[in-house]
Symmetry: C2
Subunit: 347 residues, 2 copies
């Protein structure tokens, strides 16, 4: 770390340190969720999220085709909208391109991006193309939500059930199979393909939002029309453990996770040690599922309506500790801690 | 130009050529204005615009302080919203940074950006910071408009008056004074400062929108409550001539511009030839004024309410020719043509 403050460089404090310093330029209430919320009138909120992706840092032709890079970029942004409980309205795409990039590469990137977007009927509504020494993609996605149904990280309450909407670890396993094709020989072709698809073509869980809204609406009516069921949550783009830890930190609560309730892909046992499987499941990231905290009965109703892998995996508790417990005692109890995230700028 | 289509590179077809090829991935109705319009309900439109700025291409520490780079980036995006008749709601900022950029530089960039934004009460509502080999800034601005008051390039009608909201050429002259400080010796200090400020701290003309809305509302009432006065226009970020030509092309009309009606900064005559002054005024760019096409009486009322430099500078005509005429006959009539814009990718 440089001691002369005026010479302090970005790599000395990292992305997180820089974000903290820049927060004084932003209104305090827009920080800390997957996307920002602007309430334009009493019945409508505008939800906005933005991502930058740089060649060699966030995608690479070595492991990712341009179509998959495009799909994944679109999926990550739509997932941030799903994580807020918003319906997508559109995205804008900023592209920085070196002159020697092939037009075909750019068209394939757009092809992948629109394949993902069309699945959710989301248009590309604008963009900018500029010259740059390095291929850079800037996506901003915006959606709409009703102010009384916005999912926030800070809304978890003691006693809430913790729900995951699907399987974790598959994307990380798929990446491993792409990087080391030789290691997947014990796995069935279709299992292998499923893991690779989980990495290359993740699905943002926008499908969960109308289901959740309908459940909340019907349960609110039965219980008390004036009371509102708060839903906490975020997406698991940086991993399942990270999502639970972030929610707990923002909500100032703790959690107990029951490891035996977390679905582990079957193919894992043919190929990975139990420890590796656990690492991928808890810390793999990029599965783009939702991690939600809800009252127990709401959680049960929701899980029943979702498909493979959706489960109640734990409970929100008092205190600030996130404990991983294994009922089957294959695993010793462990306290999970928030790692410092991707230290993008550290040498 | 490369003959093998699969090897066609971005520099072979340029930004414009690439944009045309990528349009098939976007809905046809969102292309061609300063920003995209999404109508979320019958009374409200969401207006979105996005810009990418790359160090060495769009800004440089040689001519621009980080504060000014930040101000200009914010101003350009707010100007695109003004050009659509929208009120800004917020912006998102994506930042790509090499690790050795000083934190101070980034904070000064944000300082300049927020100075401009605060003038118009616009918050930064989100962003992303990533590692990149080159400093890159991606801004998306969004605003709201009412569907029956959106300014479009394609709405100019024969007989409309062409209005500019202020002086053109000042920004380009300011840049010249920054690049060559030795040439400004005949100019008064305050004139010099005004031109340099025009370049470093341009003001998006958001102030024009409520004035224009009020005029349209009162005139509609008098004439016919059901009829709506269409306003065509865009901002003059790429120059006054470019704006008139773009509007005419989009509206399939022509124009006659009266050169003697265009305000030329007084300092120009002390320093520039008449021809240079004309070049700066017509083609200089980055003044971020609005160029609007309106019925004559609406135009006259509007100009009276605006300050220095606002003027009716011509008329929309049948045909597709944009003619520059000089009543004072200092200048021969000339036909203006759309140049191919900034050929960012050409070698």
């Amino acid at each position: 770390m440089n001691s002369d403050l005026s010479c302090l460089q970005v790599k000395d404090i990292g992305e997180q340190g820089l974000l903290e310093r820049l927060q004084r330029f932003c209104p305090p209430d827009v920080i800390g969720d997957d996307a920002a919320v602007l309430t334009t009138n009493p019945n409508q909120s505008l939800v906005v999220t933005t991502d930058m992706l740089v060649n060699g840092v966030h995608f690479s032709d070595v492991t990712t085709s341009p179509e998959d890079a495009g799909w994944r970029a679109a999926a990550a942004n739509l997932s941030d909208l799903a994580a807020m409980g918003a319906f997508p309205l559109g995205i804008t795409v900023g592209l920085g391109l070196p002159g020697d990039v092939s037009v075909n590469w750019v068209e394939r990137l757009y092809q992948g991006m629109t394949e993902c977007l069309q699945k959710y009927h989301v248009p590309i509504v604008g963009g900018d193309i500029v010259r740059s020494p390095i291929t850079t993609l800037a996506i901003t996605a915006f959606g709409e939500a009703t102010p009384d149904f916005i999912i926030r990280r800070s809304a978890a309450q003691i006693g809430d059930a913790i729900v995951v909407t699907g399987i974790h670890g598959a994307s990380r396993a798929g990446l491993e199979l792409l990087l080391h094709p030789e290691i997947g020989q014990n796995i069935k072709t279709e299992e292998k393909a499923a893991l690779i698809t989980a990495h290359q073509r993740p699905n943002p869980r926008l499908d969960v939002i109308p289901i959740l809204r309908a459940i909340l609406k019907s349960q609110s009516k039965i219980q008390n029309p004036k009371s509102k069921i708060a839903v906490a949550g975020m997406d698991s783009s940086d991993g399942l453990a990270d999502a639970v830890l972030q929610i707990c930190r923002a909500s100032r609560v703790g959690a107990v996770l029951e490891y035996s309730q977390i679905t582990i892909p079957k193919a894992f046992e043919k190929w990975l040690t139990a420890e590796q499987g656990r690492e991928y499941t808890l810390y793999g990231g990029e599965d783009f599922e939702l991690v939600l905290c809800l009252p127990q009965d709401t959680a049960e109703t929701l899980v029943k309506q979702l498909s493979t892998g959706a489960a109640i995996i734990g409970t929100i508790t008092p205190g600030l500790t996130v404990l991983l417990h294994d009922q089957e005692q294959k695993l010793r109890d462990q306290i999970l801690t928030l790692n410092q995230g991707f230290k993008h700028f550290t040498k």
